[in-house]
Amino acid sequence: MGYSDPSSSRDLLGNRTLFFIFICAFAVVTLLQQILYGRNYLKRYFEFYEGPFEYNSTKCLELRQDIIEVKVLSMVKQTELFDRWKSLQMCKWEMNVTEANLFSQRCQDVAMPLPFCSQHRKNTPLGTKLKYEVDTSGIFHINQEIFRMFQRSDMPYYRSQFKKCAVVGNGGILKNSRCGREIDSAISCNLPPISEKYFMDVGVKTDIVTVNPSIITERFHKLEKWRKPFYDVLQVYENASVLLPAFYNTRNTDVSIRVKYVLDDFESQQAVYYFHPQYLINVSRYWLGQGVRAKRISTGLILVTAALELCEEVHLFGFWAFPMNPSGIFITHHYYDNVKPRPGFHAMPSEIFNFLHMHSKGILQVHTGTCSCC
């Protein structure tokens, strides 16, 4: 059977020809779409990338401006924001001292007449009636027993005491990030597990760890049953101070006070501090002004605010509340598990978005990629 030239065939628009034309048309349309809508997407591949740009290069200024331009989270698509954020990763980050000072100045003026503050004997004398932050009707009387539990003085921390701090959130983005080495002095949120398994990603050293009473309620039965497991978990942090929002709402108080009893019973050296409710009120009021509209601000945000006061340079690790990382790959909710929080309680994306803004302004640095070290 001889080979027959398709053009000489009688059937000019035969099956095969039609098929070929379709494929061509499809390719043209796709290409056009790419060029028209995905200009940025293509641009990145056409551009020549030679190492990180300097902080003050025009390119970086432009990229930073791109993020600052986004005033509200809903202004752009999430993918668009991720793209802008990813492009910004090309730039080195540098602390903008004037901006940072401006920020902490504003913090002090507007919201925080109190310094980073926990409950202690001096600021909460015997017989004080404490108002809760959330339950406005709830009033807590400081009696002898509770008063005895407060630390003698404020936390051994003061303004701009530390040069460089890492605040470690529990975001799934930390998983396989290998940032453990960079996180050498850390403030941790919500009792995250630090075990051999995560040690490379989240580091070992912790100075302050916050514990959310809701975690105690759920994981440790309000400390009404076994207490040893909870104690063992706290032991991992060695000498880290435990910070609790005890006077946040009425339900938290009992549980938080019990933490102190547990540590006393087991003769632990760890110190327990309680957030002053007024401090919490001020912080959440401040962030509300910044556009974080949530029923409650998260512990992470409170800690970051505190860290901004305590430290000169603040680095955030594991603060990423989106279901995918900037490259669009899905990640777990926490680095240790994938338990989703109750919806409608915290406004996480909005908080993270604020951090990205602050990153762009040079107030703090948000780490979302993998760390290059080791």
């Binding site: 207490r227 104690y231 019990r258 019973d265």
Partner: protein
Amino acid sequence: MAAAGPVCKCPRTRLPVGGASALCVFVLCWLYIFPVYRLPDEKEVVQGVLLQQGKAWRSNQTAVTGFRKQLEDCCDPGQLFAMTKQNSPLGKNLWFDGEFLHSVTIDNATYSLFPQATPFQLPLKKCSVVGNGGILKKSGCGRQIDQADFVMRCNLPPLSSEYSKDVGSKTQLVTANPSIIEKRFQNLLWSRKTFVDSVKVYNHSYIYMPAFSMKTGTEPSLRVYYTLEDFGANQTVLFANPNFLRDIGKFWKSRGIHAKRLSTGLFLVSAALGLCEEVTIYGFWPFSVDLHGRFISHHYYDNVLPDSGFHAMPEEFLQLWFLHKNGVLRMQLEQCEAPLLQSSA
């Protein structure tokens, strides 16, 4: 026909109310003046005991076996004394014995707290059951109590050195009421170290808790278990079996004890009679005067009187006295060693 309606209704509204209420009042008055049942008077009991005191006590083996047989039939102390994995399998529904229509289903978390079987070497040889009566004060019975193989005590009594001459120092089983946990240790919700320190006196003993008797008692009793486990303490918690407690209660009720609830002491004595071959009881004397007419405190460590009307102590005492007379158990009411002899030793 129209008139029949109202005519019919009239007698109905005029029920013999007056007559019935008059009868009621009469019956109540009668019962008030001539009560059907009267708690024995303290003086009568003491007099009675004094009259029968002099005879030397002798163990009556047939009576002992007979009584143990009765206990076996009604309550089976060997099997049902405590909650075990054997007698309370997973998913079993238990009715609280001190509560009306309230039950608990044994779930996985609770089931894991039970031992496999009753953890004693049955039958036990010689048992001492130590009550907390003030009669123990200056009795010098400590040595005699400690000579027994198995010492049972009630309601976490203090065992400090000042009392050890009178009440001994050995303990194999001590009961603890959830109400004590609530009063003395704030339900173990706050600091727990004081509790762990205070039970250290009981060394390697079992703490017997009626966890499933009252609704409010379950949580504190389980918390005792958690606490002791957290601290790695030597004591082990045994939970009382509500079926056993109910059966014992019925057993004594049928023998004529009129009380809402038996006292811990009687529960313990009954359990001891079922578990041990030879039982001696100390400090069971619920009266304010001793045999020589001297006033004594309510407990050997304090003089806090209990709420009246909950336990029927004199009746329980009479039952135990009856058993003593029959030679089923031995009740120590006199001093064991003379105080003079004690001081020289």
